[in-house]
């Protein structure tokens, strides 16, 4: 089992084995990332098309109600599942886990490769639904039956079938990848890399992966059963129905059961994309403010707590669904309790900035942007989790604004920050900073312009998933002007992403050479002998770890960072324990 010498590790030589059928986690990570960004662009275009209709209703004749609902559905599903989940776990997870824990690769490289190809298959099946008769499903990303499989919904023949099949395939891919990530973290850490020395990025991805392994089965179950109801005529979720004047043969099923199963997956899914973002942003903030992360233990604890608690809050999506009303008390309470560890994370990020040495590099800009948007999203979550406040707000634009802030924009900002941060390791080149800043400012300010006012449309009572708002007396005409403004902002943000794509491609070939550790970071991925890291990552000798990941600005050291594999004495290693004990005394003397 042990890795004895470099030769034993056959380096792939042909183009095909190196870049296509590659089993190298770094190549697979790039494949995942490119694919996810590509579908993400589709979802972005769809969102801009929706915005065109909402901002300038009826002006674009080709966006009829059918198309609008198809766009909403595909946009939501792609963003949540095929972009964010795939990019965080398959992209960042694949690249960073082995490098950050000092492994040579994932534990099961073949499985890792399969995971990518199966993911790609899922994406292709989903995209195929644009080309089948009736088009993709327009059931909303929640796919609630009975509506999702009945003729009043666009794409209720082929679209919904392809959507469900694609999801099932995706789950298989995610499970293959997930097994790999979990076992790699548990088994393949290099010498000295204890769990409590791991960077928070790895912690975030690790816990998110475990959650994915526990939550996706629930989606699988609801997906399979819905597929059976659609194709084989079973009645798992379908009660007796008169649809469009016709009595159907279904009877006795429970639509609410689907919602329970869906949200048992759906809520943890929010954290499956949030926890990696939490982890990554912690490392970005620490590195770029040259200071150890505030309260590392608390941060790990909070990640684990949030992960665990997020399995007992799902029905806050169902306060007005008609489920047993007494559940409301329980789920409102658990939901608000989860706010405590979440708030602790926010405090610790901002406290890390205190007395630090902030370098406002592009990754850091995105990290700060994340704190600000996540803050809004988290706080508006308290409205929706607090059951009685949710009652008037449920299914309005307040919800749309909330979840875009908390799980749309915020994780996306972290993804951008992470890409700018790790791009030099992947390619050996830096991304263009001016373009990066332009990208940041437009995206960050645009986000506020789009979503901040949207909360107020929701409070007014404008329902979501509306194709048009003709002749509703309670909506003032000014709301339409606001919608036009939001659309313009969304278009600008959309176009600006092209700047990012250009930067990405241009810098890959023309970027300034970065050296091996441009951010002067402590974590292992920056200590590889070659940049980009070669096959097997570490040359002849795997690194040995002597300290935790946050030895920044240690007093008495020549440099303001000490790499994890450096054996010099001193620093907050092993870990802050010693520091914690000393803390009260020193703290008192200072004040």
């Amino acid at each position: 089992m042990a890795y004895s010498s470099a030769e034993q590790h056959h380096e792939p030589h042909s183009f095909w084995t190196r870049y296509v059928w590659s089993q190298d986690h770094k190549v697979i990570a790039v494949q995942y990332t490119i694919t996810a960004i590509a579908v993400g662009m589709v979802a972005l275009v769809l969102s801009n098309l929706m915005r065109l209709q909402l901002g300038f209703p009826g002006r674009f004749a080709f966006i009829d109600a059918n198309h609008y609902y198809q766009y909403v559905t595909l946009h939501g599903m792609i963003m949540v599942v095929y972009l964010l989940t795939a990019l965080f776990l398959g992209g960042f997870g694949n690249y960073l886990i082995p490098l950050m824990v000092g492994a040579r690769d994932m534990v099961f490289p073949l499985l890792n490769m399969l995971s990518y190809w199966v993911y790609l298959l899922a994406v292709l099946v989903l995209m195929a639904s644009f080309f089948v008769p009736g088009g993709p499903t327009g059931a909303g990303w929640t796919l609630y039956p009975p509506q999702s499989i009945l003729p009043g919904t666009p794409g209720s023949d082929w679209g919904i079938i392809l959507m469900l099949v694609s999801l099932l395939i995706f789950i298989v891919a995610a499970t293959m990848g997930g097994l790999n990530y979990v076992i790699t973290v548990l088994q393949a850490r290099t010498r000295g890399m204890t769990l409590m020395r791991m960077p928070l990025t790895v912690w975030g991805i690790f816990v998110a992966t475990i959650m994915a392994l526990l939550a996706f089965p629930s989606l699988f179950v609801s997906g399979v059963m819905l597929l059976f109801d659609k194709v084989l005529g079973t009645s798992f979720f379908m009660p007796a129905i008169v649809s469009m004047g016709q009595a159907l043969s279904y009877k006795g099923g429970s639509p609410i059961l689907f919602q329970h199963l869906f949200w048992f997956f759906g809520h943890p899914e929010v954290y499956i994309v949030a926890l990696p973002a939490f982890g990554i942003v912690s490392d970005l903030i620490s590195t770029h403010s040259r200071k150890k992360i505030f309260g590392y233990h608390m941060m790990v604890w909070a990640i684990v707590m949030i992960g665990a608690l997020s399995f007992v809050v799902w029905a806050h999506h169902m306060f007005v669904s008609g489920m047993n009303p007494y559940f409301g008390f329980f789920f409102a309470t658990t939901t608000l309790i989860i706010a405590v560890p979440t708030a602790i994370k926010v405090y610790n990020w901002v406290l890390t900035l205190w007395h630090s040495d902030i370098h406002l590099s592009v990754p850091m800009l995105f990290a700060i942007g994340f704190i600000s948007t996540f803050l809004i999203g988290g706080l508006t979550g308290l409205f929706l989790g607090n059951v009685s406040v949710d009652i008037p707000l449920s299914n309005t634009y307040f919800v749309v604004a909330h979840f875009h802030m908390v799980m749309g924009v915020s994780p996306i900002l972290v993804i951008f920050g992470g890409l700018y941060h790790w791009f030099p390791k992947v390619t050996g080149r830096l991304m263009n900073e001016t373009l990066g800043k332009l990208h940041f400012w437009v995206t960050f300010l645009g986000t506020y312009a789009i979503y901040f006012p949207m909360h107020y449309l929701g409070i007014l009572g404008m329902p979501r998933r509306y194709y048009a708002y003709d002749n509703y007396a309670f909506i003032p005409a000014s709301a339409q002007q606001l919608n036009a403004f939001i659309t313009v902002a969304a278009l600008i943000v959309g176009v600006t992403q092209l700047v990012f794509l250009y930067n990405l491609v241009h810098s890959t070939f023309r970027g300034r050479p970065a050296g091996s550790n441009p951010w002067r970071a402590t974590t292992l991925e920056w200590q590889t002998p070659e940049t980009p890291p070669g096959h097997g990552n570490w040359g002849a000798e795997q690194p040995e770890v002597h300290r935790w990941a946050y030895d920044y600005s240690v007093p008495g050291m020549a440099q303001d960072f000490v790499p994890q594999n450096s054996a010099v004495a001193g620093g907050g290693d092993d870990h802050d324990q010693t520091v914690v004990k000393a803390a009260p005394r020193r703290g008192r003397k200072k004040t």
């Binding site: 109600a65 609630y144 059951v387 299914n395």
Partner: protein
């Protein structure tokens, strides 16, 4: 530096926006002022956190920005601070949750003396039912649903005979009396949402859900569907007219009961002009959910300028819109599908006089005529 200023500006803009925004809660029209209060408490607490944390970040960005020769402090851990912050957060959470749960307890506990009525949803229209003199609603089942019995009442349940059926999308309610709304759907999920009432609930096929409220203001309010229910979702409208109890009783008295043929729309009886009857029919049968009268796009083709026009069908052939074509399109909608529209219109069995009324109405929406009129 720029980022610090922007963050401060964002906070200022957010606060300004909040106070200047013309978009805010609709004026309350029910007893659920407590929901608004809880919302305001939540807003105040979260707003304070929003401002404080953003300003703190801005301060750090200015105070601790990179300067030459400056190094970050190697602060020790500070459990005490973490403890305080956790405690403060917990207090804030409890201050929001406690009133929230208190209001919710009232929300799920309808008063015993509530007036009961039923709202029935169907793609994409609303209908209503009140219990008759016996104060009880009759049994329903989807098996009984037909064009003649659209709400699916059991034909031989005695309790149902005197039920008052409202087969159009406007319902009246008395002001000042607690009302328990029973919700039933015949096809998919819907949601009964009247923003000024604050209260709402989903309609779930296969079961009866409910919620309650007391209207406190007279007026005409819009009912929206707020749970995606297919392409016509955004157009599934209804109206609640809240009026003085006497006016309400009078209105209720004018409606017909199940036993007295409420379902047969009294076209001939009303004596109104034929086009006006057709317009009423279009509203009560829910045609307007999918067909506009002003040329605006909905699920189905607009009726404006339809009569006499030449339509292109899905198979490429063309047909002139004459009475025969209209009759066929209503009674067997899938026989000919207009190009560009989904085949989702349900068949309606209308009587000949009803059909004539609808066609008369459509004629008024078009300036074209049909050369040799086919017979409907």
């Amino acid at each position: 530096m720029a980022l610090a200023i922007v963050l401060m500006a964002l906070v200022a803009a957010a606060v300004l926006f909040h106070f200047l925004s013309p978009w805010w809660l609709t004026p309350l029209a029910s007893n659920w002022g407590q929901i608004d209060t809880t919302l305001m408490i939540t807003l105040a607490i979260t707003g304070a956190f929003f401002i404080a944390i953003n300003l703190f970040i801005a301060y750090c960005l200015i105070r601790f920005r990179q300067r030459d020769g400056h190094r970050a402090a190697h602060d020790p851990e500070n459990k005490k601070l973490e403890g305080w912050l956790t405690g403060l957060t917990a207090v804030g959470i409890i201050a929001m949750l406690a009133p929230g749960l208190f209001v919710y307890a009232a929300y799920i506990d309808p008063p015993a003396d509530s007036l009961v009525f039923e709202a029935v949803g169907q793609q994409w229209q609303w209908r209503f039912r009140f219990p008759g003199r016996d104060g009880r609603l009759g049994v329903t089942d989807s098996r009984f649903v037909s064009a003649e019995n659209p709400l699916g009442l059991a034909p031989n349940d005695p309790r149902g005979q005197d039920d008052v059926l409202i087969l159009n999308s406007e319902v009246h309610l008395p002001v000042g009396k607690p009302i328990k709304v029973l919700l039933r759907s015949q096809d998919v999920l819907h949601d009964f949402y009247v923003p000024p009432f604050r209260a709402r609930m989903n309609l779930v096929p296969g079961m009866v859900t409910h919620f309650w409220f007391t209207p406190t203001r007279t007026g005409r309010f819009e009912i929206l569907c707020a749970q995606l229910c297919g392409v016509g979702h955004f157009n599934m409208r209804g109206y609640v007219v809240v009026e003085e109890p006497a006016a309400f009783q009078a209105w209720l008295g004018r409606q017909s009961t199940f036993a007295h043929g409420a379902t047969r729309t009294p076209v001939a009886a009303t004596g109104a002009a034929l086009p006006a009857q057709g317009k009423l029919l279009a509203q009560s049968r829910g045609c307007v959910a999918c067909h506009s009268d002003d040329g605006s796009a909905r699920v189905g083709p607009s009726w404006k300028g339809l009569y006499g026009k030449t339509e292109t069908l899905a198979d490429g052939s063309t047909v002139q819109v004459d009475p025969a074509y209209i009759a066929e399109s209503i009674r067997t909608p899938n026989a000919k599908i207009v190009h560009g529209y989904p085949a989702i219109m349900p068949p309606f069995s209308l009587s000949d006089p009803e059909l004539a009324a609808l066609i008369a109405y459509m004629k008024t929406l078009s300036d074209k005529t049909v050369a040799q009129a086919g017979t409907p």
